[in-house]
Amino acid sequence: MIELRHISKSFESKNDEIVKAVGDVSLTIEKGEFVCIVGPSGCGKSTILNMIAGFMPPTSGEVYVDGARVDHNVPPSLGYIFQKDTVLPWYTVRQNVGLGLKFAHAPKRDIDKKIDRLLRLAHLSDFAGAYPHQLSGGMRRRVALCMSLAVDPKILLLDEPFGALDTHTKTHLHSELLEIWRELGQTIVMITHDLDEAVTLASRVIVLSTPPSHTLLEEVIDIPYPRDVFELRQSSQFTTHIQRVWKILGNQFRVAA
């Protein structure tokens, strides 16, 4: 379980002004939930993820993961997928996926077994020996996901992981992500600026306001899983949720512009 208690975060800008990105956000995310956070740019979406991961402390307020206060240390069994490529170019796909297990000095046989399973899950088995520069952008995303999954995270934080991909690749990855989530049952918190993506994947969508941000809306998406990401978009339920969220979010975009 992830708890944010009245967190705020200010940054010092280049000309020494204090900019408050996160105003006052409180949020409770239950075990096994898939939560998407949307909001206008600059509202501190990534900052919130960084604070949950222990990369930076909040200016005020507290973050708890499974009851333990998060400050400067990464909570155990937490995975984080960045928008940027975070695969190591000098390792093969196999070596990349095994990196976390190497860090933990796991026995080689266990590492091999686990890598094989993950590569099958992510449809990467044929590319085990390839180097990242030989892969497409979508494949590199899947490698990064496998790297994370290899250490069995109970919580997955995804920071606009599919932002730079085309719609076709994105939709396929959505379907794979849902499959993986249903099989492994992590708690997922995902940042996105794509409202369709949020409603497609999440069990709950959080809308943040313009900075200094606070929570504007918590929309529970009651479309049952397993969802068919290709059919979903045509359903009336989907459209209703989009419209409800958009009424709030679109307004924020107008304010931000």
């Binding site: 990369f55 995975g79 975070t86 860090f103 180097y131």
Partner: protein, 290 residues
């Protein structure tokens, strides 16, 4: 989480990836380029050879074989040098190559080590910054007589001079490389359970090494320059020593023959390193020099 670091001096930039043309057209283009290059080379050598044989040019222009020798004479001289015996070049060549190799190795390893170490501590990088910048901006040539005075006429002063030339180049590039590791990548590895020392070995050092490799072709030239300089100033062996004796005896043919030998050493070493680089850095299109 800014990636701010202490900027010391702009390093060598790694080679930019080359654009891809169609393979067939590319090989045709390459052949034409090579042919034109050979043509230019042949023209220069031909003009040099011909004009130094014409009396009028010998008397009225610079084309006097006493001063600029002649390609055929130079070729002949190199051939004689290659024969075993009293005038053989092999001992000189070995002496220069040996010093260059050791200087390059020591300079690269120490530059790499200091670069990686200093990138770990912002405090020490800031403390040492002014010293490094001023040492680097001093004309290194000014130290060669001092180095010869301190280390004598043998191998030691050649190696020290070469090291002095190579060290800063490699150091700056490695330092920049070690600092170029993105914070996201480090944070990602932290979520995978990596401790700082593990992230150093598996992430920071490989990144820095790629930048070190990008500096190596230049480092070779610098090492060779250092060794030849030390041989100029005070030595009893080496190709640089051959050059100073040619100057003392006003022997243009010996002089040019030595220059050709030195150039060949430099070019072959750069090719050797490029070949190694292509193998080691096969994963990176950014750092490969092809």
């Amino acid at each position: 989480m800014s990636s701010e670091h202490v900027q010391i001096v702009s390093p060598e930039m790694p080679a930019v990836r080359a654009s891809r043309a169609q393979p067939r057209r590319r090989s045709q283009g390459r052949l034409r380029i090579t042919l034109t290059q050979l043509l230019i080379l042949a023209a220069v050598i031909g003009v040099w050879e011909t004009l130094t044989r014409i009396t009028w040019f010998q008397q009225n222009t610079i084309f006097d074989p006493f001063f600029i020798s002649r390609p055929s004479l130079i070729g002949e001289r190199i051939w004689t040098w290659m024969q075993p015996g009293k005038n053989s070049i092999w001992s000189h060549l070995a002496s220069t190559l040996n010093a260059t190799g050791i200087g390059l190795l020591v300079g690269t390893l120490s530059g790499f080590a200091v670069g990686v170490l200093l990138a770990q501590s912002r405090f020490w990088a800031k403390v040492l910054n002014p010293f490094i910048v001023s040492l680097n901006s001093m004309p290194r040539i000014a130290f060669v007589p001092l180095i010869t005075m301190l280390f004598g006429l043998g191998l030691a002063s050649k190696v020290v001079t070469a090291w002095f030339m190579v060290f800063f180049l490699v150091f700056f590039n490695t330092y920049k490389g070690a600092n170029s590791v993105e914070q996201e990548l480090v944070n990602f590895c932290r979520t995978l359970g990596g401790r700082p020392s593990q992230i150093l070995w598996r992430v920071r050092i490989p990144t820095a090494a790629a930048w070190t490799f990008a500096a190596l072709p230049n480092a070779i030239s610098f090492a060779l320059i250092g060794v030849v300089l030390a041989e100029f100033v005070g030595s009893t062996t080496g190709v640089g020593y051959l050059m100073t004796t040619s100057l003392a005896t006003l022997n243009a043919t010996d002089m040019f023959a030595s220059i050709v030998v030195i150039s060949l050493i430099g070019v072959s070493l750069v090719y050797l390193i490029s070949a190694i680089e292509r193998r080691v850095l096969h994963w990176s299109s950014e750092f490969r020099n092809d």
